[in-house]
Amino acid sequence: MKIKDIVIIGMMGAILVGIQVAMGLLPIPNLELVSLLVIVFTLVFGYRTLYIIYIFVLLEGFFYGFGPWWINYLYVWTILFFVANFFRKRKELILWATISGAFGLGFGALCSIPYFITGGFPTGIAYWVSGIPFDIIHGIGNFIVTLFLFKPIYRILNKLSNNGMISV
C-alpha cells in the first residue's frame, strides 16, 4: 500500500468520525451520513473501504468509549460494505437509496445479535422490538439522505480518484 493510500484511508476514517459526531448533535436521533459514505467509499475505493471502516470504528471507540455498542460496530458496517460491494456494478440511484434505507431499518436487528447470543431469543427480540421506532427513523433518513446526496458525493470522490488525486 502506498503512503498516499494510507493518508487517504486515515483521512476518510477521520471524515466518517467527524460527520458522525456532528450529526449526533442534531436533535433528530439516527439521522446519519455514515451509511451513505460507506456505500460510496465501497464503490470508489473497493476493499480499501474495510481499512476506512475499522479506522472509523477504532476512533469512535476512543471518542465515545469502548462500550457494548462498540462490539456491534465491529460488524455492522462491514456487512454494509459487503452488500454494497455485491451490487457495485448497479447504477440505479433508487437501488442505493433502498439499500441504505434497508440497512437503517435493519440496524437494530443487526445490533441485537449479541443479545440473542448472550440472553437468548426473548432478550434479543425485546431489544430489537424496543428499538424499532429508532430503526424506522434511521431507515427513512438513510433513504432520503442517499437519494439526495449519493450522486454529488459519488461524483466528487470519483472525480478525485480519476484525476489521480486518490489512487484506487
Binding site: G24, P29, N30, E32, Y64, G65, F66, G67, P68, W69, W70, E92, I94, L95, T98, G101, A102, L105, C111, Y115, G119, T123, G124, I125, A126, Y127, V129, S130, G131, I132, P133, F134, D135, I136, H138, G139, I140, F143
Partner: protein, 134 residues
C-alpha cells in the same frame, strides 16, 4: 427497455422498503413495550458502590420508568442512537474517562431495553447501578 428495467427496480425496491416499514410498525405495536395506566408505587435503588446505596420510593401514574424518574428529577442524560442514555443519577455523573456508566436492572435482572421503554407496574423494584469498565 433499459429505462423500463430501471423504473421497475425503483418501484419494486421502494415498495419493498415501504412494506418493511409497515411490518416493523405492526410488530412494534403488537410486541412493543406496553405501559399500564393507573397509580403505582415503585422503589428505585441508586447504587454508587458496594457500601453506598440510596432508595427512593416513587408514587406515580407514569407508564414508563423514564417518566417516573423524571418526576423525581433523579436522572440526567441525552438521547442517543440507542435511546435515552443515562449520564447522571441523583446528582452523581458517570465519568466516561473512568469508563463509568449506569445500568438499570429490575430485581437484579438485566433489562434488554432503555429506560424509555421499561413499562412499570405497582410494587416494582429497580436498581440503577454505577458500573465501572466496559
Amino acid at each position: 427497455m433499459k429505462k423500463k428495467s430501471k423504473n421497475l427496480v425503483g418501484i419494486v425496491s421502494t415498495i419493498a422498503l415501504v412494506v418493511l416499514v409497515i411490518v416493523m410498525g405492526l410488530i412494534y405495536t403488537k410486541l412493543g413495550p406496553q405501559g399500564m395506566k393507573g397509580d403505582k408505587s415503585i422503589v428505585v435503588q441508586v447504587i454508587t458502590s458496594e457500601d453506598d446505596s440510596q432508595e427512593f420510593k416513587i408514587n406515580t401514574d407514569a407508564e414508563f420508568l423514564r417518566q417516573a424518574l423524571d418526576e423525581k428529577d433523579l436522572i440526567n442524560g441525552s438521547d442517543s442512537d440507542y435511546g435515552f442514555f443515562i449520564t447522571g443519577v441523583n446528582g452523581r455523573e458517570a465519568e466516561v474517562d473512568n469508563q463509568e456508566w449506569w445500568q438499570v436492572t429490575k430485581n437484579g435482572e438485566y433489562l434488554p431495553y432503555g429506560v424509555n421503554d421499561i413499562a412499570i407496574a405497582d410494587g416494582d423494584h429497580y436498581e440503577i447501578t454505577l458500573m465501572v469498565g466496559y
